[in-house]
């Protein structure tokens, strides 16, 4: 538990890079905060009203204005410049995900996450695919590429420990990638208000050691597809079930569609 300004330990490859930018900004803004608020307090004490003393008559100082325009400009540009590479790495990588990434499909709907696994052949849309609800399993040390879609409203796929957040938008398939660096159990949450069950739209992430993941896939892939969600058996409030089945999330079977998916 952390009550302060430290981030929790990240568990993805770009997580620590994101955190280091956070810490740089924390230091820069922290210093500015102390200087500005400190100056404010000192001035207020020092120049409080005293009998017989008048304020200095001054309308400003053009050189000072130039200084405090240029310095903040340089600082924020430096932060933007620093941020750009990590941003592009996290969101785009090389063509939206590393080439050898394990493909997964996550389809959100009120109020659950359905994860389609490619099965032992590691290809989506083949007969050995299987689906788990609210359970994201993945191997440690290997990139995964998630094709994110939604069947009804906008949800947001939030994996705090991996520093991943991406809205799932109906009508779009948005690629998300990350690589877990530590095995363990982690939370998955919804970060976009999506209806009355938004607060309980959560799942779990299980990061396995590579071998353990392969045996988990073999086990799940051969099990009867009990967990494949039929559209009708959801907790989501019923009326939209038929519509949800027809929603675009199910239409986008080709991972190649991400090009048009971007707005």
């Amino acid at each position: 538990m952390d009550w302060g300004w430290l981030m929790s330990e990240p568990a993805s490859t770009f997580g620590s890079k994101i955190d280091s930018i956070y810490y740089v900004i924390l230091v820069i803004t922290g210093v500015i905060f102390v200087l500005v608020e400190g100056a404010l307090i000192v001035f207020l004490l020092k120049y409080r009203h005293r009998e017989g003393r008048r304020a200095e008559y001054s309308h400003g100082h053009t050189k000072l204005e130039a200084v405090w325009t240029i310095i903040p400009f340089i600082l924020v540009m430096a932060i933007a410049w620093m941020s750009m590479d990590v941003w592009l790495e996290a969101k785009i990588a090389d063509g939206h995900a590393p080439a050898d990434a394990l493909p997964l499909r996550v389809t959100a709907k009120q109020f659950e996450w359905n994860v389609t696994y490619p099965g032992p052949d590691e290809k989506l849309d083949t007969p050995d695919d299987f689906v788990k609800r609210n359970q994201l399993h993945l191997p440690v040390g290997r990139a995964v590429r998630v094709d994110l879609a939604s069947e009804d409203v906008i949800h947001s796929f939030f994996l705090p420990v991996f520093r991943v957040k991406q809205d799932a938008v109906p009508g779009m398939v948005i690629p998300v990638w990350f690589e877990a660096t530590k095995a363990g159990e982690y939370p998955l949450g919804c970060a976009e208000l999506c209806g009355l069950g938004h607060y309980r739209m959560r799942g779990s992430v299980t990061v396995h050691e590579a071998a353990a993941f392969d045996s988990w896939v073999a086990e799940e892939g051969s099990a009867p597809a009990a967990e494949t969600p039929a559209p009708a058996d959801t907790t989501g409030g019923g009326a939209e079930a038929a519509e949800a089945a027809a929603a675009p999330g199910h239409d986008h079977q080709q991972p190649s569609s991400e090009g048009e998916g971007r707005a």
């Binding site: 001054s58 903040p72 400009f73 939030f158 939370p187 009355l196 607060y199």
Partner: protein
Amino acid sequence: MSTVPIEIGHPSVQHWAEPGHADHRSFLRKYIFSTDHKVIGCQFLIMSLTFLLIGGLLAMLIRWQLGWPGTAVPGGAILGDAKAPGGIILPEFYNSLVTMHGTIMIFFAIMPLLVGVFGNWLIPLHVGAADMAFPRLNMASFWTALPAGVIMLSSFFVTGGSAAAGWTAYAPLSASPELSGVYMGQKLWCLSLIVLGFSSLMGAVNYITTIVNMRAPGMKWMRLPLPIWALFITAILVLLAIPVLTGALILLLFDQTIGTTFFLPKDGGQPLMWQHLFWYFGHPEVYILILPAMGIASEVISNGSRKPIFGYKFMVYAIVAIAFLGWIVWGHHMFQSGMNPLLGGAFMTSTMIIAVPSAIKVFNWLGTIYRGDIHFHVPMLNALAFVAMFVIGGLSGVFMASTPVDIYIHDTYFIVAHIHYVLFGGSLFAIFAGIYFWYPKFFGRMLNPTLGKIHFALTFVFYNAVFFPMHNLGLDGMMRRIYDPNQYEYLAQYQPMNTFISVSALLLGASQLIFLFNFLWSLRGGKKAPANPWNSNSLEWTLPSPPPHGNFPTMPTVYRGPYEYSVPGREADYWPQSEPPGEPERKAAHREEVHA
């Protein structure tokens, strides 16, 4: 710069508003359907303070649920079984609470307080005019805003409850009743904001015309008090931004009512289109909500420091720069929305740049108090709190502007903390400063300073106790708009912090009762206000409190800027804008003009 005196007010306006004549208007024309900008300002004040109270009560309910999840709100049974059976808030009502708290505070409290109240109170008096350019349009503006508010409140009482898709109303949730469970409420929400938009446009047209056309002789642009500069630029933003929102709201209403699919993915609609339209309005809106506050703070800080505002021209340029840049940063609300990440990178850059003019303003406020002669009157305390809190809100914005950091903190309590540091710590403290400062002018009585100081101290402490820890909750990964964070194991451990915030929030709410009491009691019981209780320079302080209908007995002539405090060689440490210069001063002024 040309010194040609500017034509003021249309003769017909001057004529009907001839002061000194006996006021024969009926009660109805004087106080209800009044065209007097001062009365309309007071009407907006009463309306928006009422909404501030309602919005605050909604916040208390939100904090109750987060502080003590799943327990009955004391007296909450009156909310009814559809909202809170036995006083226990339902998740769907919680969504409705966060939606309506945001909507009411932004559209019906802060915006009308800044633009409706201070725009009406200050513009004609500060520029030296008898009234607004279009007094009847001004009256219509208020009488359009009020029904909009009534429509918004009525949505609490319809079946399905009020809107529950967030104040941002992201489609498709907002566009499809079967997905949100909200039927009439969301339609009323759209309708109310469409109607309110007309009110805002009428106000904006009036403000711009009045400031451009009706300045008294000698009131050059660079002699305008800074609240007027801020309100002028704000009015331009309103005029350009509100129609975008209105258009988007009409499309959203069509999606809900007549089966169109502008924002629904089936049949070619685009959910992201709503976000682009909403934020294209929404980001200028952020500056609509802060620029007038900056103007008020500048006025009060210069007065309280008995010192000219530092870098007047740069303050003006910063306002103008913010207004331009404000149009090209809307995408920073959408970094994680599915918008092309390359576009996100571009929006990050423009967003970083807009931090610069805000920084300039902060440094100039510091420059103003430096070597000042600081009087800690109640308006000054609130204005200083504005600066101190706006610094925090500005700095926390840098975290979210950085796209990679935003991945983690987007839609968490970090953004909740940020927006409240800007809108409460920023705008609302400036509003308090403005009310304490100008209440005597418009109600003829002083607010009690002791109660004012107690109210300020309690508000400042509890405000920070509420919102500062929210940064940390956000960094711990707590999402916003979550009915019960304990659903998540990793968030359940922060329940003590949530309870602490809720206790502070209840105390913050209770502290506002002091202000309410002071406001109401002083109307009759307050000390009679002199014409110029703060020894201030702008034109309204030359008039009795309250000024008569029609404002100025004779056309004022303006000789100098509004911040001539502590001028050497003068006995008084202030110098009213309309006081004719003496001979030595005239020579000095001439020298200055030659140099300029």
